[in-house]
Symmetry: C2
């Protein structure tokens, strides 16, 4: 929990009393490799903060095929945040790719923070802005770079990821088939 407290302190100021009120509503939870933290079709009621481990965000298309949407690692927040905000059934599932320890932040804790922490809204704003910027960069890249170029840059976005994640999931993230990625790697 100390790691989480530290990361939040980097983003906003809070009093010990504010922190205690907030912390009393959150908890630590561990997930074994390959298990799911959250599944599609359920309304997300919590946001996760990753203390240790690696999480894959995936979506199933209308034909049942699975697509990797995103990876998240130590020090990051993760959820199907759009569905969380709208209180609608999630499209994404969250899967641990390694044994993972997270801080579970229920909706009640977040709303309490907005109402009772002086900089609660600011924290929410900055997290949303950061998450937004990541998405924006990503769409920007799909327009301006080829899949090969995006593969070559993936370590900038997810440092160390190529040693932690099977290649077919990376191909899925890039929106191409694993066979095609294998081909691209052997070009030049």
């Amino acid at each position: 929990m100390e790691f989480f407290k530290f990361i939040v302190s980097q983003i906003i100021d809070y009093t010990p009393k504010e922190w205690d009120g907030f912390a009393s509503q959150i908890r630590i939870q561990e997930f074994k490799k390959s298990t799911f933290l959250a599944e599609a079709n359920r309304v997300p009621e919590e946001v996760f903060f990753i203390e240790k481990g690696l999480i894959r965000v995936l979506i199933n298309d209308s034909k049942g095929a699975e697509h990797t949407f995103h990876f998240a690692t130590e020090g990051q927040f993760i959820a199907d945040y759009a569905s969380y905000l709208r209180m609608q059934p999630a499209h994404y599932s969250l899967q641990a790719l390694e044994d993972t320890r997270v801080v579970v932040i229920p909706r009640a804790a977040i709303d309490w923070g907005y109402a009772h922490m002086r900089q609660g809204e600011k924290l929410g704003r900055l997290v949303a802005e950061q998450y937004f910027s990541y998405h924006d960069d990503r769409i920007k890249q799909t327009f301006s770079l080829t899949p090969k170029e995006r593969y070559d840059k993936i370590e900038e976005v997810f440092p160390g990821i190529l040693n932690r994640i099977p290649q077919h999931m990376i191909a899925s993230y890039l929106g191409i088939s694993s066979v095609h990625l294998s081909r691209l790697k052997n070009q030049k």
Copy 2:
């Protein structure tokens, strides 16, 4: 300006005094069809709110080709918001596709709102969340739908757009060539 004031009142509460302080720092500006509100490579120092008209957000790739990233219409905020937040040179340019009237909101006004309006941070949070959700939906769709399916649904995302925007810009938005879109339309 009344339309903008109304839209903000739908999002947060503010006192007359708060509004006057904020409003004294913003201004109305008009842009003729085809002109640019903002250009890539300059650090964005303002966010626009569209009172009337239609704006195209575009990006140029490394080979100089132009891609349409987004469309924005009446009642929406628009900027290269990621670059605005990071205070870095913009990747996007903003172009009016019709004669357009916008409210220009300089960075100073936004920061003033965060500091002096009780619900200023909340407004920032909600706008960021909304913008994020739009981006998220979009990436979701590129994974789960074919270009044809996305074309068929584009009126849900941008009502009335097919009558206001040339087809090659729509093709660019969908990430396909105009020739290919023309082909897809005639299937089935």
